[in-house]
Symmetry: C2
Subunit: 323 residues, 2 copies
Amino acid sequence: MSIDKVAQLAGVSTATVSRVLNGNPGVKPATRDKVLAAIAACEYQPNLLARQLRTSRSRMLLVLVSSITNPFCAGVVRGIEEEAENQGYHILLCNSESRLHRESAYLQLLSGKVVDGVITMDAIDCLPGLTTLIGNAPWVQCGEGNTGYNASSVTIDNHAAAVSAIEYLSQKGYQRIAMISGDLRYLYSQQREAGYRAARGAAWQAVARADGLEYQAGYQAMAELFSGDEKPDAVFAISDSLAGGALHYAHERGLRVPDDVAVMGFDGVPFGAVTTPPLTTVQQPMHQLGVRSVQLLMARIDNPQSEPVDEILPWEIQRRGSA
Amino acid sequence: MSIDKVAQLAGVSTATVSRVLNGNPGVKPATRDKVLAAIAACEYQPNLLARQLRTSRSRMLLVLVSSITNPFCAGVVRGIEEEAENQGYHILLCNSESRLHRESAYLQLLSGKVVDGVITMDAIDCLPGLTTLIGNAPWVQCGEGNTGYNASSVTIDNHAAAVSAIEYLSQKGYQRIAMISGDLRYLYSQQREAGYRAARGAAWQAVARADGLEYQAGYQAMAELFSGDEKPDAVFAISDSLAGGALHYAHERGLRVPDDVAVMGFDGVPFGAVTTPPLTTVQQPMHQLGVRSVQLLMARIDNPQSEPVDEILPWEIQRRGSA
DNA sequence: CTGAAAGCGCTTACAG
DNA sequence: CTGAAAGCGCTTACAG
């Protein structure tokens, strides 16, 4: 079932078979039909590996996420897959769990020509060696805008969004606004926390850092915020998942949301619409983040000389019942 | 940066370079060192495509899931990735959204030798053409045990688990136990619904079919169950996500859970631990489902003549506050 | 419009 | 222990 068999069957050269396979216009209809018949007859399936080796184009993209269970990541990945499909690309998803070993194993596929480019959603700054593995291969950072690399990026303005979230809470009359922050190796954590501090200025502040991205971490951080003497009357969490854990803590302690304590999230993931009460949050354009990442990556693949671009997408505050 | 360059640099043949690259023992230490030095000197990176073409082994696995945002799928995928990594394999995740076009595009990678085998988590029965695309390639079904294919499978006993869930609710004293079922194209939906009906026997029954896998669908189904005259006092949902939507409906209507209505889920995904109240559910061995899928697939890859095996894993009822 | 031939970058019998 | 050579299955100038 190789191209040679087809050529034999059709009584033409392999070059001709290849031409009809690739839709090359310069083939006489009669011969094309002969070839097509032969292809059907022997149920020929092209060996993509050979094609990729020859053309040095795999039409595959590597996507590095820290956690696939993170609904924000999942939302972005959907956007990536959709646009990749439009462009005739397949994606190879690496759920790194931030494990260096696994990430570098996948990045080897880049230098090994198995993929044409990579989209990273992880904190790349603190993963030494990875950037050298990527080298000058087409690369876009999604959700993280670390500078100093030969990479494009697509993000939102995390600082501004955090400032705006705090202002929203202030306008609602909340006084003691605390924050559940996250892993500061991520640029977005730094930026959102900085936004919180900037917005608070000289006002009352309290920050608890969640250990991880899961609900449980949000629950713990909330407990920490409520362990002191001065309880917050509002909490701004760096992600909806963490906010979900915070809500759980509030319910468990009999705190009414938003009357006793308001909770505000970040991301705008689906489950935020069905929490009790539904979560007020900063809605990120997840789908569009994915779509634009692919488009910027394609630009780099098609023209490696082109300048990397840093794109910033809009966000909006989604008002629901929790704050 | 091909093997030829390295060979030249080291003053040996390409065969020798290949041998040290592959850890072939029959190489004189002195020459091995020369080669290693040359590899380092020119920062040689092997072209994996060429290697794969030559050896007809890609060490990549295709994983077809219907929805990556489904936390049950995500949990299984983590198990898959972990075991794949142990075996030196990479995975290619296809988030099909049950779209035939996308699934067949990915399955082409199978016939195209880009992947060595496939794990499907989707309802394959009703996707005509896909099974012929798979042909006799190494294949295992995970979570779905359709028979009649040349595939291994790993599942739980969905019927028994559903029966047991209903018995649990009965023993708790609930009388009018309803069910939120799902898409009957999935075998697991059929099996769990059949288990429900078998367990109820002549007792009061009500089934609402959720339209989709998201919270929202569970909310709608719950609304449907409560629209009639005879309200249920307990609801068994076919998945935790759907149960989450049901909980939301209950809260919205001021129904106390589990006093006014009990809610029981299925899957045992992480967020079930932080709902209000936490979700009583049937815990599936997600991680192990993934691990065993990979192992069974490896068996088929290493020995295509081996018989497919159908493996059934244990489940358990996870008691929490909602029922 | 079509074919003969080279080549993508590896690995692997086969000799020696 | 090492090398020359064939070959994996394609595509693509280059002729004609």
